[in-house]
C-alpha cells in the first residue's frame, strides 16, 4: 500500500548551496533587475535608456551565472566524489551531478543569447518585469533539469511555464501577443492539470514521489514488463505524457504552438523553442527512464504496450504533421513553429531510442547533442525573425527576398542554420539526426526490425522538411531584394546568428567535442541516486541501480516475484 513519503528536513550544507549558486544568483538577479527598474529607473529616464541599462544589467547577471556554472565544471572545483550521483542534495530532491553541471551551462548559455537578442529593440514597456521573468523562467528551467522528485519537478516546471506565459503577453500594444499569452495560459493550465493528475496516479501506485524510488517500486511490483494489462499504469502514463507532450509541443498537444510562436515577441519565442524545449525534453527523459522505465516496453518484442510504442506513434505523427503543415506557410515565425513541432517528433525518436537502444548513454548523448544544436539553430533563426519583426515590420518569408545580396554575412549564417535544420552534412543537425536514428535502429534483440518503420518515417520527413527550408534559401539568394530589406542589422541579432552558425559548423565538423561531454552527462543523467535511508526502504531484491548505467529492461532478466502487487489490477 502507498505509504506517506517522509522527506527528511535536513538543512542543506553550505556546499549544497554552493552547487546551486548559479540558480540562486539568477533568482536574485531577477529581483535586482526588477528593483532597479521600479525603484531607480522608471519614470526618470526614457524607455530606450531604461531598456538599455536593464538589458546590460541582465546580461551581466546572466554572464556571471554562466561564469559560475562554468566555474563549477572546472576541474577541482567540485571534488569528484561530490559530483558523483551518490550524494543527495537538498534531501534528494535535486541532483547535482555531472549532467546537471553541464546541462545548466547550456541552459544559461541559451539565456545569455536570449537576453542579447532581447536588447536589440524595445518591444515592451515592462522592461524590469521582462528581464526578471526571463531570469525566473531560467531558474525554473534549470531546477527542472536537476529535479529528482515529482513535486520539485512540477514546481520547477510551473515556475518556468508561468513566467513564460507572462513573457508571451508582454509585448506592448500587440493584440496578438496578449491573445497568445491567454491561449497559452489556458491550454497550459489544462495540460498542467493533466500532468499533475498523472503524477498523483503514479504516487498512488508507488507511494513515493522520488524518481528513483518510483522506478524501484515499479520494478518490484511489476508482473509484466511494459503496461500490458495494467490500465492504471496506462492512465498514469498517458497523463504524464500529456504534460510533457504539451511542453515539447508534440501532436496532439501542439495546438498552442503556432499561435504562441507567432504572437509572442521573437526573443520569447526563441526562448520557448530553445530553453523550454531543452529542459522539458531532459526532464521527460529523466522521468521516463528513471521512474517509469519499467513501463517502456515488454522484453523482446517492441510492439508490446508501453511508452515506447506510444511515443513512436506520437513521434511519427508529430513529424509528419509538423512538416506537412509547415509546407504551406508564408509566415516565417509560423513556419518555424510547425518546424519546431516536427523537430519535437525527431527528438521523440531519440527518446524512444534511449528506451530501446543497447547503448543508452550514447543514445542519451545523441539526444542531448541534438537538443543543444537544435536550440542554437532555433535561436539563430528566431533572431532573424526578431529582426524581421522589428526592422521590416512583418515576418513573411518573402520579406527575406534578396537578403543574400544586401547582407551577405547574416544571410550566410541563416543559410547554414537552415541547412543544419534540414540535416545536411557536415553540419551539426546532420550528426544529431544521424546519431539519434542510428541509436533507434540499434535496439537490442529483434527490436531493430520493429523500429525501422519509425526511422523510415523520420527520414522521409527530413526530405519533406527540405522543401520549406529551401524556400527560405531561395528567398535569400534567388530573389530580387525588396525595398525594405537590409537597412540595419542590430548587433544582437548578428551576434546570435554568428555564434549559432559558428557552433553549428564547428560542432558539425568536430561532433566529438560536444558529444563526449554530453555522453558523459548522459551517464549521470540515467543514474539514479543511492536509495535514501529515509525514503521507502529498499528490499533485498538485489537491484542496485546506483552509480551504474541501468541495464536495458529489454535485456535484463530480473526475477519477478509472482505475488500480485498493489498496482496490478
Amino acid at each position: 500500500m502507498p505509504t506517506v513519503p517522509v522527506i527528511p528536513s535536513v538543512w542543506p550544507s553550505s556546499s549544497e548551496w554552493f552547487f546551486l549558486s548559479p540558480v540562486l544568483l539568477m533568482a536574485f538577479w531577477g529581483v535586482l533587475v526588477l528593483m532597479l527598474d521600479v525603484l531607480v529607473l522608471r519614470n526618470r529616464t526614457l524607455l530606450s535608456t531604461r531598456a538599455k541599462w536593464l538589458g546590460l544589467t541582465s546580461l551581466v547577471g546572466a554572464l556571471a551565472a554562466l561564469g559560475l556554472a562554468v566555474g563549477l565544471l572546472w576541474p577541482g572545483v567540485l571534488a569528484t566524489d561530490v559530483l558523483s550521483a551518490n550524494e543527495e542534495f537538498f534531501n534528494g530532491t535535486i541532483a547535482f551531478d555531472a549532467a546537471s553541471a553541464l546541462l545548466q551551462v547550456v541552459g544559461i548559455g541559451f539565456l545569455v543569447l536570449v537576453i542579447g537578442l532581447s536588447m536589440t529593440w524595445v518591444f515592451t514597456n515592462e522592461q524590469g518585469e521582462y528581464y526578471a521573468l526571463l531570469f525566473w523562467s531560467a531558474v525554473g528551467m534549470i531546477l527542472m533539469i536537476e529535479a529528482e522528485e515529482f513535486m520539485t519537478l512540477f514546481v520547477a516546471l510551473e515556475t518556468m511555464t508561468i513566467s513564460i506565459y507572462i513573457l508571451t503577453g508582454l509585448e506592448t500594444g500587440s493584440k496578438r501577443s496578449s491573445e497568445a499569452a491567454l491561449k497559452y495560459l489556458i491550454y497550459g493550465s489544462a495540460a498542467s492539470a493533466l500532468f499533475l493528475f498523472g503524477l498523483s496516479w503514479v504516487y498512488g501506485l508507488t507511494g513515493t514521489t522520488r524518481l528513483a524510488a518510483v522506478g524501484r517500486a515499479l520494478v518490484e511490483s511489476r508482473t509484466v514488463e511494459g503496461i500490458g494489462g495494467q490500465w492504471t499504469s496506462g492512465l498514469a502514463l498517458l497523463l504524464v505524457l500529456a504534460g510533457f507532450g504539451f511542453k515539447v509541443a508534440s501532436v496532439p498537444f501542439h495546438q498552442w504552438t503556432p499561435d504562441v510562436y507567432e504572437g509572442a515577441p521573437a526573443p520569447v519565442t526563441a526562448w520557448i523553442a530553445s530553453g523550454s524545449k531543452f529542459a522539458s525534453f531532459i526532464a521527460m527523459i529523466k522521468v521516463l527512464m528513471l521512474a517509469l522505465g519499467t513501463w517502456s516496453v515488454d522484453t523482446g518484442h517492441l510492439q508490446s504496450p508501453g511508452w515506447v510504442v506510444i511515443l513512436s506513434i506520437l513521434a511519427a505523427v508529430s513529424m509528419t504533421y509538423g512538416n506537412l503543415a509547415a509546407l504551406g506557410q508564408q509566415n516565417f515565425k509560423r513556419m518555424l513553429a510547425y518546424s519546431s513541432i516536427a523537430h519535437s517528433g525527431y527528438l521523440l525518436v531519440g527518446v524512444v531510442a534511449i528506451g530501446v537502444s543497447s547503448q543508452r548513454t550514447e543514445a542519451t548523448g545523441a539526444v542531448l547533442y541534438y537538443l543543444c544544436t537544435y536550440g542554437l539553430a532555433t535561436l539563430g533563426t528566431f533572431a532573424v525573425a526578431a529582426w524581421l519583426a522589428h526592422d521590416v515590420g512583418s515576418d513573411q518569408i518573402d520579406d527575406l527576398n534578396g537578403l543574400g545580396f544586401r547582407r551577405p554575412v547574416p544571410a550566410f549564417c541563416l543559410a547554414i542554420l537552415l541547412l543544419s535544420l534540414i540535416g545536411v552534412p557536415p553540419l551539426a543537425g546532420f550528426f544529431g539526426k544521424m546519431l539519434m536514428f542510428m541509436e533507434a535502429l540499434n535496439a537490442g534483440g529483434n527490436g531493430g526490425i520493429a523500429l525501422t518503420w519509425l526511422v523510415v518515417v523520420a527520414l522521409l520527413n527530413s526530405v519533406v522538411s527540405a522543401f520549406y527550408y529551401v524556400r527560405v534559401l531561395k528567398a535569400l539568394y534567388l530573389r530580387q531584394p525588396g525595398p525594405a530589406i537590409g537597412k540595419s542589422f542590430p548587433s544582437g541579432v548578428i551576434w546570435t546568428l554568428v555564434i549559432a552558425a559558428v557552433a553549428t559548423v564547428g560542432f558539425g565538423l568536430n561532433p566529438t567535442a560536444l558529444l563526449d561531454p554530453l555522453g558523459g552527462a548522459g551517464i549521470s543523467l540515467l543514474t539514479s541516486p543511492e536509495p535514501a535511508s529515509s525514503g521507502r526502504p529498499v528490499d533485498s531484491n538485489g537491484i542496485t541501480q546506483s552509480a551504474t548505467v541501468p541495464e536495458n529492461p529489454a535485456q535484463t532478466q530480473v526475477p519477478v516475484a509472482p505475488a500480485p502487487s498493489a498496482s496490478a489490477r
Partner: protein, 738 residues
C-alpha cells in the same frame, strides 16, 4: 607522446599567414593595397616566432652522432624534437569514460588520422630560413608589384603559399605533408600563371602542374605502400621503426641487410614495434616485419614526388618555364623554398630509403646537376639561366643526400636558398630597370646600378663556390661526401666526376651572367640610358640577403677548419649516423673545390669580362650544333613532346574523331529514333508521371491544409481537441493493453 608548448609557437607561425590569406580573400575590396602590408606583417610575425623558437632550441642543437658514430651497433639516440599530436579525424574510437572495458560487439576498429607536429633541429633552421626569405621577398614585392592590377591577389596567394610551406615543414604526418605538398603546388600554379592574360604563362603554369602531377602519382603510391606496411602516417614513427644501425650500415655499404636485421626472405624487422600477442601474458610480443621490396617501392614513389617538386631529371622541364611568373615568385617559390621541399622530404625520409633508392637518388641528382649546368652555360635569358642553375644546384643537394651526406645536402639547401633568392631578386631589379631578360642587349650596368651589381656579385661568388662565401662551404661539404662515397665504392667514381664538372660549369655560367649584365660597355645605349638603380624598398632586401649569402656558411673560425655552424645545427637532427667524412677526404675536397671554382671563374673572365682574351663568337659558331642542343635543354622538351605529348594528343584526337564520326552518328541516329519514342514518353510523363508527382505534391499540401484546418485560432477548439485527443488515447490504449 608528450606535447611541448614550443610547438604552439610554430603552430602560430604557420597559421598567421593563413589568417592573412583569409583576410585577403574576404576583405580584399575594403583593404585594397593594405593587404600587401598585412601579408608582409603576417610573415614577419611568423619569422619572429620562428626566431624565438630557434633561440629556444639552441641548447638542443648539439649533434648527437658526432662522438658515437663509430659504435655502430649502439642504440642510436633519437634526435631531440618538440612534438605534439592532434586528433584530426577520429571515427569510432569514441568510448565514454567508464565504458572502455566493455567492447561493443561487432564494432570496427577506429579510423584515426592524427595530425602530428614535429619540430627538430632541421625544422627549426628551415623555419627561420623560409620565413626570413619570405619576409624579405614580401617586402621587395611591395615595390616590385606596385603597379599590378591584381596587386592584392598577389599577396593573398603569397600568404597562402607561406602557410602551406611552413605547414609542410612542421608536419610529421604524411597525410598533412601530402596536403601541404599539393597546396604549395597550387600556389605555384596560381603564381606562375599570375599574368594569365598571356597564353604562354598559362601554358607554363599548366606544364608545371601536370609535370608535378606525374611525380605526385608516384608519391601517392609511396604513401599507400607506407600506410599498408606500417599502418601509420607518422614520418617519425616510420623512421623510428627503421632506425636500426645495422640496416643503415647495410645501406651505406650498398648491400642488402644481413640475416640479423631482416630474414633472408626479404623482410626488414621493425625495430621499435612488436605486436603484443592477444591473450598471452604481458610482455609477450612477436616482431613485426615489413617487406624489403615494399620499402624500395615506397622509397622510389616518395622520391618520384620529390623529383617533380624539386625539378630533377627527367621531371625538371617545368622549372625553366615557371619563370613566366613574377620574379619575386621565382625567387621565393622556384628558387628558395618550394623546389627545396623535395630535397627536404628526401632528408626527412632518409631512413626509409634503401641503398638502391639512395643510389638512384644520387645518380638522378648527378644527372640533373650536369644537365642544368650545361644548359645554363648557353642561355641568353638570364632568368632562364638562373632556372637551370636552380635545377643544377638542386641536383647537387640530391646527390649529397643520395651518397649519405645528409647534413651536407641539406646545408647546401640553406645556403643555396639565400644566394639564389638574392640572384633572383637582383635579376628582378635588373628587369625593373631595363625591361628585358635578354643578356645580349645588356652590359655595363655596374655603374648605373651599383648596389644591385655589388650584391649580385656576392651571390655570384657564393654560387660559384669561391672560398669565404657561403656556397663554398656547402658545396665543399657535398663534394667531400661524394669523395668519401667514391672512396668506399670505387665503382661509382662517375659520381665524383659529374659534380666536379658541374662545379666548373657553375662558376663559369654564373660569372658569365654577371659579366654580361654588369661588366664591360653597354651593348644597347637605348636600354642603358633608362637603366636606374631600384628604389630602397627593393635594394634593402637584397642587401640583407647578401649578408646572409656571405656568412651563412661560416664555421666559427671562418676558415674551413671546422664544420660550418649551420651544418652543425642541421646535423643535430640527423636521423642516423650517416656517412662520416674523414679529414683527408675533406681536404682533398677543399682542394678540388677551390681549384675548380677558380678555374671556372677565370675561364668566364677570359671569355666575357672586359679583360677578355677570346671572342665567343667564333667558338660559338664552331660549336653551333652543340649550342643548339644545350640551348634547348638537351631537347628534352621536344623529346617529351614527341614521345608523350604528341602520342597522347594523337590518341585524344583519334578518340575525338571516332567520337565525332562513329559514335556521334550512331548517337544521332539513335537520337532520332529515340525522339520519336520520347514523344510518347513525353506524353506519358506529362500526364502520368508529372500528374503523379504533382499529385503527391498537392496531396502533401492538401494534407497540410487539412491539418491547419484544425488550427482555428479558437482556444475552445484547442481545449476541445485536447480533451478529444486524450479521450481517444485513453480508449485506444485501454483496448490495446487489455
Amino acid at each position: 607522446m608528450t606535447s611541448h608548448w614550443q610547438v604552439w609557437l610554430y603552430v602560430a607561425a604557420v597559421f598567421i599567414p593563413l589568417v592573412a590569406f583569409a583576410t585577403g580573400v574576404l576583405f580584399r575590396r575594403w583593404l585594397r593595397s593594405w593587404i600587401a602590408w598585412i601579408a608582409t606583417g603576417a610573415i614577419f610575425c611568423s619569422f619572429l616566432l620562428s626566431l624565438i623558437g630557434f633561440l629556444g632550441f639552441i641548447p638542443h642543437l648539439k649533434s648527437s652522432h658526432g662522438e658515437s658514430s663509430q659504435s655502430d651497433h649502439a642504440q642510436v639516440a633519437i634526435p631531440f624534437a618538440w612534438t605534439a599530436d592532434f586528433e584530426w579525424l577520429d571515427i569510432g574510437s569514441r568510448l565514454l569514460p567508464g565504458l572502455e572495458s566493455e567492447p561493443v560487439k561487432g564494432s570496427l576498429p577506429a579510423l584515426r588520422i592524427p595530425v602530428s607536429i614535429r619540430i627538430d633541429a632541421l625544422t627549426v633552421v628551415l623555419f627561420v630560413m623560409v620565413s626570413l626569405i619570405a619576409t624579405l621577398i614580401h617586402f621587395y614585392s611591395i615595390a616590385y608589384m606596385a603597379e599590378d592590377p591584381r596587386y592584392s591577389w598577389f599577396f593573398t596567394y603569397l600568404s597562402l603559399f607561406c602557410f602551406s610551406m611552413l605547414a609542410l615543414l612542421a608536419s610529421d604526418s604524411l597525410f598533412l605533408v601530402f596536403m601541404t605538398w599539393e597546396l604549395v603546388g597550387i600556389c605555384s600554379y596560381l603564381l606562375i600563371g599570375f599574368w594569365y592574360e598571356e597564353k604562354t604563362n598559362v601554358q607554363a603554369a599548366n606544364k608545371a602542374f601536370i609535370v608535378n602531377r606525374i611525380g605526385d602519382f608516384g608519391f601517392l603510391i609511396g604513401l599507400g605502400v607506407l600506410w599498408t606496411s606500417f599502418g601509420t602516417f607518422s614520418i617519425s614513427e616510420i623512421n623510428r621503426e627503421l632506425a636500426d644501425p645495422g640496416l643503415r650500415d647495410a645501406h651505406l655499404r650498398l648491400t642488402r641487410p644481413t640475416a640479423t636485421h631482416g630474414d633472408p626472405g626479404g623482410l626488414v624487422r621493425l625495430s621499435s614495434r612488436d605486436q603484443v600477442v592477444e591473450g598471452a601474458g604481458p610482455g609477450t610480443t612477436i616482431p613485426l616485419f615489413v617487406s624489403y621490396s615494399a620499402l624500395v617501392v615506397a622509397g622510389l614513389g616518395i622520391f618520384a614526388g620529390c623529383m617533380g617538386k624539386s625539378a630533377q631529371f627527367p621531371l625538371h622541364v617545368w622549372l625553366p618555364d615557371a619563370m613566366a611568373g613574377p620574379t619575386p615568385v621565382s625567387a621565393l617559390i622556384h628558387a628558395a623554398t618550394m623546389v627545396a621541399a623535395g630535397v627536404y622530404l628526401v632528408g626527412r625520409f632518409f631512413p626509409l630509403f634503401t641503398h638502391e633508392v639512395l643510389l638512384f637518388i644520387a645518380y638522378i641528382g648527378a644527372i640533373s646537376l650536369v644537365i642544368g649546368a650545361t644548359v645554363a652555360v648557353v642561355q641568353t635569358d638570364y632568368k632562364r639561366l638562373l632556372a637551370f642553375s636552380t635545377v643544377s644546384q638542386l641536383g647537387f643537394m640530391m646527390l649529397g643526400l643520395g651518397v649519405g651526406g645528409w647534413s651536407a645536402g641539406l646545408f647546401h639547401l640553406v645556403t643555396h636558398a639565400f644566394f639564389k633568392s638574392l640572384l633572383f631578386l637582383g635579376a628582378g631589379n635588373v628587369f625593373h630597370a631595363v625591361h628585358t631578360f635578354e643578356m645580349a642587349s645588356l652590359g655595363g650596368l655596374r655603374t648605373r646600378m651599383p648596389v644591385t651589381a655589388r650584391m649580385m656579385l656576392v651571390a655570384t661568388l657564393a654560387s660559384a663556390g669561391i672560398p669565404f662565401f657561403s656556397g663554398f662551404y656547402s658545396k665543399d661539404a657535398v663534394l667531400a661526401s661524394v669523395l668519401q662515397f667514391a672512396e668506399f665504392h670505387p665503382g661509382h667514381t662517375i659520381l665524383v666526376v659529374l659534380p666536379l664538372l658541374g662545379s666548373f660549369l657553375t662558376a663559369f655560367y654564373i660569372f658569365r651572367m654577371w659579366f654580361l649584365i654588369f661588366d664591360g660597355e653597354p651593348r644597347s645605349e637605348q636600354i642603358a640610358v633608362h637603366a636606374h638603380e631600384a628604389p630602397r624598398v627593393m635594394t634593402l632586401p637584397i642587401t640583407i640577403l647578401a649578408i646572409f649569402a656571405l656568412v651563412v656558411g661560416y664555421p666559427w673560425t671562418i676558415l674551413p677548419l671546422a664544420t660550418p655552424v649551420v651544418e652543425a645545427w642541421i646535423e643535430a637532427a640527423e636521423p642516423l649516423a650517416a656517412m662520416r667524412v674523414s679529414a683527408g677526404v675533406r681536404w682533398t675536397a677543399i682542394g678540388f673545390s677551390v681549384l675548380i671554382s677558380l678555374a671556372g671563374t677565370v675561364a668566364a673572365t677570359l671569355f666575357y669580362s672586359r679583360f677578355k682574351l677570346f671572342s665567343t663568337r667564333s667558338i660559338l659558331s664552331d660549336l653551333k650544333p652543340l649550342r643548339t642542343f644545350l640551348f634547348n635543354g638537351w631537347f628534352l622538351d621536344r623529346l617529351y613532346r614527341l614521345v608523350f605529348v604528341l602520342p597522347v594528343l594523337g590518341v585524344a584526337r583519334g578518340v575525338g574523331r571516332f567520337d565525332h564520326h562513329g559514335l556521334d552518328r550512331l548517337v544521332n541516329e539513335t537520337a532520332r529514333t529515340t525522339r520519336g519514342i520520347s514523344k510518347l514518353g513525353d506524353a506519358f510523363d506529362r500526364y502520368v508521371v508529372d500528374g503523379l508527382a504533382r499529385g503527391i505534391g498537392w496531396t502533401l499540401y492538401g494534407l497540410g491544409w487539412l491539418g491547419r484546418l484544425i488550427q482555428t485560432g479558437q482556444i475552445r477548439t484547442y481545449v476541445t481537441l485536447l480533451s478529444v485527443a486524450m479521450l481517444g488515447l485513453f480508449v485506444a490504449v485501454y483496448f490495446w493493453i487489455r
